[in-house]
Amino acid sequence: MNFEPVIGLEVHAHLKTDTKIFCSCSTKFGAPPNTHVCPVCLGMPGVLPVLNKKVVEYAMRMAFATNCEIAGESRFARKNYFYPDLPKGYQISQFELPIAEHGHVDISLPNSTKKRIGITRIHMEEDAGKSIHDPGRPVSFVDLNRTGVPLIEIVSEPDLASPEEAGAYLRQIRMILRYLSISDGNMEEGSFRCDANISVRPAGQTELGTRAELKNINSFKFVEKALAYEIKRQISVITGGGRVIQETRLWDTAKNRTNSMRGKEEAHDYRYFPDPDLVPLVIDDAWMDAVKKSLPELPDARRARFISDFDLSEYDADLLTADRKTADYFEACIATGAPTKLCANWIMGELAAALNARGKSIDQSPIPADALAKLLCLITDNVISGKIAKTVFEEMIETGKPAQTIVEEKGLVQVSDASAIEAVIDEVMTNNPDEVEKYRAGKKKLMGFFVGQVMRATKGKANPGVVNKILTNKLS
């Protein structure tokens, strides 16, 4: 029997607001334990939460970007459970009335078709703190710096049919979050987390199978691995005559397998109810319009524009728009007049490689966009050759000097003057009489040898076009 997997993902993304969702403590990562705390996020007696407006606006941005309907009135609810890193004994989240519902995103499949994935809902909530267990002693510590850091949870429909689709969906969601500048989307640092609901069913069956929830999948690689493992496991349970049970399973990174964490019976009853400390969140049309207007161009739209306006291939457009900063860099480059295709090649080639080697992102590039554009213009203006440009580029990366300065300091200006080049060619021909004979006898392949000799003699500065033309004349 053939089985098909049915996958839905719950993504938690930290919002990068300056302050927490219900108090004015800093959200900055990496501070000494319990230094970014106040009575409100510590859950002390008598204190009250006040909603950070910025969090609402960030959630609205994501809602617009994923084509959701935004609720004119939504509510915060309390999710009740006991844990030492949850100081109030409840997490403020949204339950019955989330801020946004009924959206979708399109993902690209390997066969270059698109698939639409439904977004069930987006809601806002506060993060919990962190428990730190001492491996040497039976002691645990609690760090509440993270308590109250704003999150949005993005819940997909069970529309994903393979681990690869799940991966593509996650990358799409992360790309949108980053485009909107609302989240770092960093899975390893925990600012982007994912739980997966997965079931399998015989191909063609419409009824869903029993699902398992997978937790602790903290990298893109693990998401696909854990899902692939879980699909195999569920299929073997069914084909072995057993039944999949509804449970929560944890991905074990070391052993590459999922293990049961708790069954349906042990599932928490979170006793959700509307938080009486917070009034219903009302979003009027004016606020919605203002946020909508502030949205940047989204990746799909930008990709389409790059293809139509700049005549780029789909491949180039995909690569350039995958990251907003790269796309911004590219647009800044061509704004100064450099040719689009040359810019695209250099950004994805030399620049990407150089940044990669130095562990830098494009917004930390030692060569700003306009400086790269000026270098590329030196090529198109025949001031230097493409080959010399690479040398200049290396120098620019190291020193940050402008291309023009480097070219002048090192005397790298391309020689296009015919008489100067002719003199060099005469010398080369005089020094290599045998090769001239052989060429004239029909060994036309030797043209490369002559060009090479001229280039060596001019230290690569001779204009290759002019060299070719004069050589052809003189040798014939």
Binding site: G43, P45, L48, V50, R78, N80, F82, D269, R271, V279
Partner: protein, 486 residues
């Protein structure tokens, strides 16, 4: 006359005229506490030193002409209002050592107004109760009869006011916790409109119902205190951003042309004591005589208020009290070795039986499979009760009725029967569920000499009309000056 016998407005006049000093006044009140509190047990903490310092500061301010409206006035504060640097226990073992590093919003307002806190007063643990017998520390006695309860949960506040151990007090009212003890002790108590007073720093019992309010020796004092503590606070999202009228200035005691609604459901209740009925009807007649028009109205969903309240309030409480888990502050059972055992042991030993009862009740009401039948249904009933009042206030300006079905009952009389205890709030719960203001003003005494209060309820933010109507009652009854002999 002793200085501690003064009302706030009397003391204010004397302080302004510099006939007395704030320090003298505070010393008088502190001496009174020393003299009689071993009989009433109203105070949990007396802050004599800081009170003297504050009083001296008030004297300076008065001398310098910069005195606030409560400069030098000694007040008692219910022990679930956070006071920076002063133990705030909520009358619970679980918070017996809790010293807040912040002041409640009302404390900031009192402080700005120049008030002098003389101490923190007893209550039912976490404001859960109607007799102050649920305090983990001691039973407060009714100053009129030391074998009886002062009411609750703000029993310490009411007893301290009527025993002249302060000039006024703050309490909190979630289901009647200001009005019922005010009635039982013979003082004026107001539960303001929900949102009128900031809840920031009020330790939560049931967040959608809790409201801080004054307990005072007379209506004028209650109006003065209300004016100081009311107003918008951005730290409380449920706080109302609208101006606060000058309640004191609006007082005339003139009810001519005012329509008083008499809800039949508050009088056909079987449990209503004949003395209470007589005193309340007498007060209503007095209002009529003073020119008010009385009409019969109906609040048809009144019989469901107790059930709705005892689902909503415990549900919220079960969540609000989850933070007392032994992890961060407060009581922890050190014998437990596993986390879940520590939770169970700390909470079982830290909370008293009534608090545990309500946590269990509320947890159950919110549980999967029961939420719709209990919490949600109760919320729907709450909407119907709100509509009852909206309809009623189309026909009348004020609703008048009893505060409690009986005068103060005996210590221990109802402690074994929580349901009977819950029914003592039957007439006060509705105002909390609806969020409207409610006031208790003394209107008579029972045959055995126990005070009885008249309850006045008004439309949202109509506190001024309540004070004015209550002043008319106060003048007509002529009993505001009466004090128990201690």
């Amino acid at each position: 006359m002793q200085l501690y016998e003064l009302t706030i407005h009397e003391a204010r006049d004397l302080l302004e005229k510099k006939e007395i000093s704030a320090l003298e006044l505070t010393e008088s009140v502190l001496a009174r506490i020393d003299a009689v509190d071993d009989k009433t047990d109203a105070y949990l903490t007396v802050t004599a030193d800081t009170a003297r310092a504050r009083a001296k500061a008030a004297d300076k301010a008065i001398a310098g002409g910069t005195a606030g409206p409560l400069a030098g006035i000694p007040l008692a504060i219910k022990d679930l209002i956070c006071t920076r640097g002063v133990r705030t226990t909520c009358a619970s073992k679980i918070l017996s050592d809790f010293v807040p590093p912040y002041d409640a919003a009302v404390m900031e307002r009192l402080s700005t107004a120049g008030a002098v806190m003389v101490g923190k007063v007893n209550m039912d643990e976490f404001a859960m109760g109607s007799s102050t017998e649920n305090s983990a520390f001691k039973n407060t006695k009714n100053p009129w009869d030391l074998t009886r309860v002062p009411g609750g949960s703000s029993g310490g506040s009411a007893a301290a006011v009527v025993a002249d151990m302060c000039l006024g007090a703050l309490g909190s009212d979630t289901g009647g916790s200001i009005r019922q003890p005010a009635s039982h002790c013979g003082v004026v108590g107001l539960k303001p409109t929900y949102g009128r007073v900031s809840r920031f720093g009020l330790v939560a019992y049931a967040s959608s119902l809790d409201q801080i309010g004054p307990l005072a020796k007379d209506v004028t004092d209650a109006a003065i205190l209300s004016g100081v503590i009311s107003g918008y606070d951005r730290r409380d999202s449920t706080s109302a951003d609208r101006p606060v009228p000058d309640y004191g200035a609006a007082l005339a005691g003139d009810v001519t042309g005012r329509t008083i609604g008499i809800p039949e459901e508050y009088f056909n209740s079987k449990g209503i004591d004949p003395d209470v009925r007589a005193a309340v009807e007498n007060a209503i007649s007095a209002l009529k005589d003073a020119g008010a028009k009385c009409i019969d109205i109906s609040l048809p969903h009144t019989p469901y208020a107790v059930a709705a309240y005892y689902l909503i309030a415990p549900a919220e409480a079960s969540s609000n009290l989850a933070r007392y888990d032994g992890v961060k502050y407060g009581f922890r059972d050190m014998s437990a070795t596993a986390l879940s055992d520590m939770y169970t042991a700390s909470r079982s030993a830290g909370f008293g039986p009534e608090v545990q009862r309500r946590i269990i009740l509320g947890t159950y009401a919110l549980s999967a499979g029961y939420y719709d039948a209990y919490y949600k249904k109760a919320s729907q009933v709450r909407t119907l009760i709100i509509n009852d009042f909206k309809n009623a206030f189309k026909k009348c300006d004020v609703i008048a009725g009893p505060v409690a079905p009986t005068p103060a009952f005996s210590l221990g009389e109802k402690t074994q029967d929580p349901l009977t205890m819950y029914l003592s709030d039957i007439f006060t719960l509705s105002a909390n569920l609806a969020g409207i203001p409610g006031l208790s003003v003394p209107c008579g005494f029972s045959k055995s000499g126990l005070p009885i209060g008249l309850q006045l309820m008004g439309n949202y933010f109509d506190e001024a009309i309540l004070f004015d109507t209550a002043l008319c009652v106060e003048r007509a009854m002529g009993i505001a000056h009466k004090r128990p002999r201690l």
